[in-house]
C-alpha cells in the first residue's frame, strides 16, 4: 500500500504516432497516491491514447513511464493489470451474458485446485459491492444493468485486482445527477484508501468539484498541470482551447412566432404520463430532469419511434399520427438522438452519404442519385458547420466525436425542418465544439425553427433555453421561463417534484 502523496506514476515526454499521424508528442503526467487527478483536453488532444498506453493496449514510441521507482512495462492489458493499473472505459466493457461475480473476476478467476472457486468469487464480489454502497446480487446476469451499476461492477473489478491506479474515461458521461454523486462518493473512498484516480471528463463543474489536480492536454502534449486551488475554469478552458473562449452559450434573442409543436396529455404508462407543452417558432424549449425521467421517451414518441397510449401530438395545428417517423419527417420534424454512434449515424458510411441520407429526394434525377448534387450538398454543410474531414467519403467512424455530432446536425438541418428535436446534443464532445453546437442550435432557432432540446447538463439548459420543462419519474413537474430558472429550482423540481421558491 502506497503512502499518501507518494509518486505512483510519472510520464515523461511520452510520444506515440500511428502511421503518419502524431497522437502524442510529449506528454507529462505525475500521479500521486491518494489523489484524484482530472485529465482534460479537447477531443483529439491525446487523452484516450495516453489512457490506452497505460492500459497496455498501445506501446509508447518515445519518452519514459515510471511506476514508483520501477519502469512501466508496456505490451499487453495483462501486464498493465499485473502492474496495478485498472481502466474503466467510457463504454463499460462488461460481459452481459455472464454473472456479476464472473465479471468482477474475469481473467483472474479464483481457483480451488483446477476448478474455479465460485463461492469465493460470489462472497468477495458481494463484499466489494457493499463497500461501494450498491448491493447488487453477484449471481445476477450483467444484462439489464444500468450504466451506473455497470460502472460499479467495473470499479469492483478494479478493487478486486488491487489496483493502485484507476483510470476512468468519461465515467459520468451517461450518468444522472444522483448517480454522479454516488460515483463521486466512491472516488473519494478510493482516494481515502490512498489509491490514485485519473479521470477524463468534459463536465468541468464536476472536475472542479472533485479533483485535486488538473492536467490539461492539447494537441498531444501536456499544457498545464496544477493543483485545483491554483487554477480556475477560465484558465482551464483557455489551456484546452488554446485561446479565450468568449461564450460557451451564444444565446441570442429571437422573435417568437406561432406554435409549431403542441403536445396534449401524452401518456405511455411505462415511461411518462400527461405530458402537455407547446414549442413555438424561434423558441428553444428544454426538457430537463434526471436520466430515466422519461424525457427521451417523450421525444421518441413525438417523432413516432415509440407508440403512446393516449394524448395527441399536433404539428402546426394538425394532428400528427402516432408511430411513424416517416410521417413525422414529412411534417418537417428532425430528431437528433442522444446516441449518435448507434442511432444517429451510419458509422462505416462516408460523411457525404450520412449528410445526404435524409435529403435523397432533392438529390435525385429521375429516381437515381446525382452524386454531383450530393457532393455540393456535403460541401455546403461542411462550410456552414465547419466539419473537419479529409475526403467526403471518409467513414464517419474516423471523425472525432464533435465532428460526428456536427455531421448528424448537418444531416437533419439539410432537410430544413420546422421542428428540431435534439437529445443531449453535446454529450461527450469538447468545450469548443460544444460552443459551436450551441451556436448552431441558436442559429436554427434564429431562422425560425422550433427547437426542443433534452439535456442533462444544467448550464446548457440554463444557457440556451427560452423555457424549461422539468420532468420527474415520467411526470411534468415544473415549467420555468428563462428569467425565473435557476440551477437550484431545476434540481429541486427534478429530484423532489416540488417547485421551490
Amino acid at each position: 500500500m502506497a503512502n499518501k502523496g507518494e509518486l505512483l506514476l510519472e510520464m515523461n515526454k511520452v510520444a506515440k504516432r500511428f502511421g503518419g499521424a502524431i497522437a502524442l508528442k510529449g506528454t507529462d503526467l505525475k500521479i500521486r497516491a491518494g489523489e484524484i487527478h482530472a485529465l482534460l483536453g479537447e477531443n483529439g488532444a491525446g487523452k484516450s491514447t495516453m489512457l490506452k498506453i497505460l492500459a497496455g493496449v498501445h506501446d509508447n514510441d518515445g519518452g519514459t513511464i515510471k511506476l514508483g521507482s520501477k519502469d512501466f512495462l508496456t505490451g499487453s492489458p495483462q501486464q498493465s493489470i499485473a502492474q496495478g493499473i485498472a481502466v474503466i472505459y467510457q463504454e463499460p466493457s462488461l460481459f452481459l451474458d455472464l454473472s456479476l461475480a464472473e465479471n468482477v473476476f474475469i481473467g483472474r478467476q479464483p481457483k480451488k485446485g483446477a476448478v474455479i472457486d465460485w463461492k469465493f468469487a460470489q462472497t468477495e464480489s458481494a463484499r466489494l459491492f457493499k463497500e461501494l454502497g450498491v448491493e447488487l446480487d453477484p449471481k445476477r446476469q450483467a444484462r439489464g444493468l444500468s450504466i451506473a451499476d455497470q460502472q460499479v461492477v467495473e470499479i469492483a473489478k478494479a478493487l478486486s485486482m488491487n489496483a493502485n491506479i484507476i483510470l476512468m474515461d468519461e465515467p459520468t458521461a451517461a450518468l444522472s445527477a444522483s448517480e454522479v454523486e454516488r460515483l463521486m462518493t466512491v472516488m473519494k473512498s478510493l482516494k481515502a484508501a490512498n489509491k490514485a484516480v485519473i479521470f477524463v471528463s468534459h463536465r468541468l463543474d464536476e472536475v472542479f468539484a472533485i479533483s485535486d489536480y488538473i492536467t490539461v492536454m492539447r494537441d498531444g502534449a501536456t499544457v498545464s498541470e496544477n493543483p485545483v486551488g491554483d487554477t480556475n475554469l477560465q484558465k482551464v478552458i483557455k489551456d484546452m482551447v488554446g485561446r479565450e473562449l468568449t461564450d460557451l452559450f451564444p444565446k441570442t434573442e429571437h422573435k417568437i412566432g406561432e406554435v409549431v409543436l403542441e403536445v396534449n396529455d401524452l401518456t405511455n404508462p411505462a415511461y411518462f404520463r400527461n405530458i402537455s407543452f407547446k414549442v413555438k417558432k424561434g423558441e428553444i424549449v428544454a426538457l430537463a430532469g434526471l436520466v430515466g425521467s422519461g424525457r427521451s421517451e417523450v421525444a421518441r414518441a413525438i417523432f413516432g419511434i415509440d407508440k403512446y397510449e393516449s394524448g395527441a401530438v399536433k404539428v402546426k395545428g394538425e394532428i400528427l399520427p402516432a408511430g411513424s417517423p416517416v410521417l413525422a419527417m414529412k411534417r418537417k420534424i428532425a430528431f437528433i438522438p442522444e446516441d449518435r454512434r448507434q442511432q444517429g449515424l451510419f458509422m462505416v458510411a462516408g460523411v457525404n452519404r450520412n449528410i445526404s441520407m435524409e435529403s435523397f429526394d432533392s438529390l435525385t434525377d429521375r429516381g437515381l442519385i446525382n452524386f454531383k448534387k450530393e457532393k455540393s450538398l456535403t460541401d455546403i454543410w461542411r462550410d456552414k458547420l465547419s466539419i473537419k474531414f479529409v475526403n467526403q467519403a471518409d467513414p464517419v467512424d474516423r471523425l472525432s466525436g464533435g465532428n460526428q455530432q456536427k455531421t448528424v446536425l448537418a444531416k437533419w438541418l439539410a432537410t430544413d425542418p420546422d421542428l428540431l428535436i435534439v437529445d443531449e446534443p453535446t454529450r461527450g464532445i469538447d468545450v469548443a465544439t460544444k460552443a459551436e453546437v450551441h451556436r448552431l442550435v441558436d442559429k436554427a432557432a434564429g431562422e425560425g425553427k422550433a427547437v426542443l432540446m433534452i439535456s442533462s447538463e444544467l448550464p446548457e439548459v440554463l444557457g440556451m433555453a427560452d423555457r424549461i420543462i422539468v420532468m420527474r419519474e415520467g411526470r411534468q413537474v415544473a415549467e420555468l421561463s428563462r428569467a425565473e430558472a435557476t440551477q437550484e429550482k431545476i434540481i429541486a423540481a427534478a429530484t423532489t417534484g416540488k417547485k421551490s421558491a
Binding site: 492500459a55 493496449v57 499487453s76 492489458p77 495483462q78 493489470i81 481502466v87 472505459y89 466493457s93 462488461l94 460481459f95 452481459l96 451474458d97 455472464l98 464472473e102 474475469i106 481473467g107 478467476q109 481457483k111 483446477a114 476448478v115 474455479i116 465460485w118 444484462r143 439489464g144 444500468s146 411505462a270 430515466g292 419519474e473
Partner: protein, 332 residues
C-alpha cells in the same frame, strides 16, 4: 453424485430435456418399438456422430465463431483411417483411435491459425477449409471405396458393443465427453473465458484474456472431435467413400442451436447441444414412424431450427421486459 450435481442444468436444458421426453413419448405412442430397448439403442447409435461433433463445435459457437469444416474432416479421417487399415491388416481399433484424431487436429490447427492468428472471420475460413479438405478427400481417395472386410474387426466389434441392451459404446463415449466438457466449460478458467470471448469480443482483449490461445485451442479441439467422429462414422457404417458425411455440417450447427447455444455467442451449454442432437434425431424417427415421406426430413429440420430461434427470441424479450420492470420498480 457431487460431480453430477455440479453440472446442475439450467432451466433451459431442463425444458429442452422435457421437450425431448415428450417427443420420445409421442413417437412411442405411434410406434411402440421406439420405446423398446432396440428403439432406444437405435436412437443413440444414429445420434452419436452428430452429438460428438456438436460437443466439438459448441465451445466455438459460444465464442461467437463457427466451424463449417467438420463434415469434410469427418470424411477425410474416415477415408484415411480406412485406407491405413486396408493397407495394414494388423491394425486394430487402437491405431484407428490414434490416426483419426491426429488428422482432425491437423485440420483444427490450420483453422485455428487462420482464425485466431490472422484474425480472419471463422465463417469464411472454415467455409474455405470445408472445400479444401473435401477436395483433398477426392484427390487422395481417387474413387476408391472401402467396405467392412477391409476394416479391423476389433473396430467394428466396438461399434456393435452395447451395454445393458440400450447403451452403445459410442454413445457412452459421447456422454463421457459431454460430462467432461460440460464440467470444463463451467468450472475452468479456459471454459469461462470462452463465454466471455463470445459475449463481448473487444472487451475480452481489454481484460487480458488470452484470446488467441483460447480461440486456437477451441478450433484444435473441434478438429480433434471431428477426427474422432470420423472413426465413429466407420464404426457405425463400416464403409466409406469420398462423399462420406458430405454436407452435414449445418445439421450439426442446427443441433447446437436447437440445443440452446446462441449463434451470437456467450451462452449455451454442451449438455444442451447433445440434447439438441438427440431431439433432431427423435423427431426424424417420429416422422418416419408417422409414415411421413423421408423427403420431408430436411424441411422439418429447418422448421425445427426456426422454432428454436424463435423460442430464444421470445425468452430474450421476456427477460428483457422483466429486467426493465425490475429497474422501474427499483427506481420508485
Amino acid at each position: 453424485m457431487n460431480f453430477l450435481r455440479r453440472l446442475k442444468p439450467s432451466s433451459r436444458e431442463a425444458s429442452l430435456a422435457l421437450i425431448l421426453i415428450v417427443a420420445v413419448g409421442g413417437t412411442g405412442l405411434i410406434n411402440p418399438r421406439f420405446l423398446t430397448g432396440d428403439g432406444t439403442r437405435d436412437l443413440f447409435t444414429s445420434t452419436s456422430v452428430v452429438a460428438l461433433l456438436a460437443i466439438g463445435i459448441a465451445p466455438i459457437v459460444i465464442m461467437r465463431h463457427i466451424d463449417l469444416s467438420i463434415s469434410s474432416t469427418v470424411g477425410l479421417t474416415a477415408w484415411v483411417v480406412a485406407d491405413f487399415c486396408a493397407k495394414n491388416p494388423d491394425f486394430t481399433w487402437v491405431q484407428c483411435f490414434i490416426i483419426g484424431p491426429v488428422i482432425g487436429i491437423a485440420v483444427g490447427i490450420l483453422n485455428g491459425l487462420l482464425v485466431a492468428g490472422l484474425r480472419l472471420p471463422s465463417l469464411v475460413v472454415t467455409l474455405g477449409t470445408l472445400y479444401i479438405v473435401r477436395g483433398v478427400v477426392y484427390v487422395v481417395s481417387n474413387s476408391v471405396d472401402y467396405n467392412a472386410q477391409e476394416m479391423p474387426p476389433s473396430l467394428l466389434d466396438l461399434g456393435q458393443k452395447v451395454f445393458f441392451g440400450v447403451m452403445p459404446l459410442t454413445f457412452l463415449l459421447v456422454i463421457i465427453a459431454m460430462l467432461l466438457m460440460g464440467f470444463f466449460m463451467k468450472y475452468t478458467k479456459a471454459g469461462r473465458d470462452a463465454y466471455a470471448i463470445g459475449s463481448n469480443p473487444p472487451a475480452a482483449d481489454l481484460v487480458g484474456i488470452k484470446v488467441f490461445r483460447r480461440t486456437f485451442l477451441a478450433f484444435v479441439f473441434s478438429g480433434f472431435m471431428a477426427g474422432l467422429a470420423g472413426v465413429f462414422y466407420l464404426m457405425r457404417f463400416a464403409q466409406v467413400d469420398s462423399t462420406a458425411f458430405y454436407g452435414q455440417e449445418l445439421a450439426v450447427v442446427a443441433a447446437v442451436v436447437i440445443g440452446g447455444v446462441t449463434i451470437m455467442g456467450g451462452s449455451g451449454t454442451v449438455v444442451g447441444a447433445v440434447i439438441g442432437a438427440l431431439l433432431v434425431q427423435t423427431i426424424q424417427g417420429g416422422l418416419a414412424a408417422l409414415g411421413v415421406d423421408a423427403f420431408w426430413k430436411a424441411a422439418v429440420n429447418g422448421l425445427l431450427l426456426i422454432i428454436a430461434i424463435y423460442a430464444d427470441r421470445v425468452l430474450a424479450v421476456r427477460s428483457e421486459k422483466s429486467l426493465l420492470a425490475q429497474r422501474i420498480k427499483e427506481r420508485v
